[in-house]
Symmetry: C2
Subunit: 151 residues, 2 copies
């Protein structure tokens, strides 16, 4: 059997998630892509940084914005292994990300296709195109393994 390969940015987001797990952080990873090149990457690091905002998406957005010297990442894409929470969806909107591609849905904390549905209100000043499910199986497996090992 041949499995269709993941696009390199999602493969890198999953690699970032694995790095998080190695550090004892919830395994979620994210990258920001501009013109086909990764310009920011990140994984959860809330504990090691003592920073409640240090989810994978926010870390990757900050890195990309630093790289461009601009708070706005117009025309960029984000690949993230898990459906963003309200904080991260809000940050993605503020950064003007053009396209959001995420892996697993998150019934417990997601805020894109459930819960706060951050992009679906007039108070959200920018709505990215959203693609869900890419790499979902791998992303879920990483999370399941992480939480099972901690029980």
């Amino acid at each position: 059997m041949t499995r269709w390969p993941l696009p390199p940015p999602m493969a890198e987001a999953l690699e970032q998630a694995r790095l998080a797990a190695d550090l004892g952080e919830v395994p979620v990873g994210a990258v920001v892509v501009r013109d086909g090149a990764i310009i920011g990457r990140g994984h959860n690091r809330t504990r090691i940084d003592a920073d409640p905002s240090a989810h994978a998406e926010v870390v990757a957005l900050r890195a990309a914005a630093q790289a461009l010297g601009n708070e706005r990442l117009t025309g960029c894409e984000m690949f993230v292994t898990l459906e963003p929470c309200a904080m991260c969806a809000g940050a993605i909107a503020h950064a003007r990300i053009a396209r959001l591609v995420y892996g697993a849905s998150d019934p417990k904390g997601g805020a894109v296709e459930q819960g706060a549905r951050v992009f679906d209100h007039p108070q959200c000043l920018h709505r990215p195109e959203v693609v869900a499910g890419l790499g979902a199986a791998q992303a879920s497996e990483l999370l399941r393994g992480f939480f099972e090992a901690r029980r």
Copy 2:
């Protein structure tokens, strides 16, 4: 006439908002209080830091978490001059802020009493007590003056 004075933390949040305006940033300010003492403060600095996540609340939460060496600010209060957006409301929930006190409501970008109503979904894992309207007149006046001067 004597005007009832604002509690010192909201006065400091307004002072932070004024500092933002002086830097050409949207004038919103925030502080985190623990046991009556301010342990973190911040104002909008998205442009000067090239950081889409650098709203007043996130800056103040990060500073407080650094001060405590803990991503969780259990038992702390946040005072902020404007109703938080989805990103900031999410960050406030992640930080386990016990009480959120804000000034002006924000029909355009707020996500507490309108829009995404971040705290009102089961996917929000922590809901602070919320008090609105404290210092609202001063907070609105700062924002109005800022945007009028830029027209």
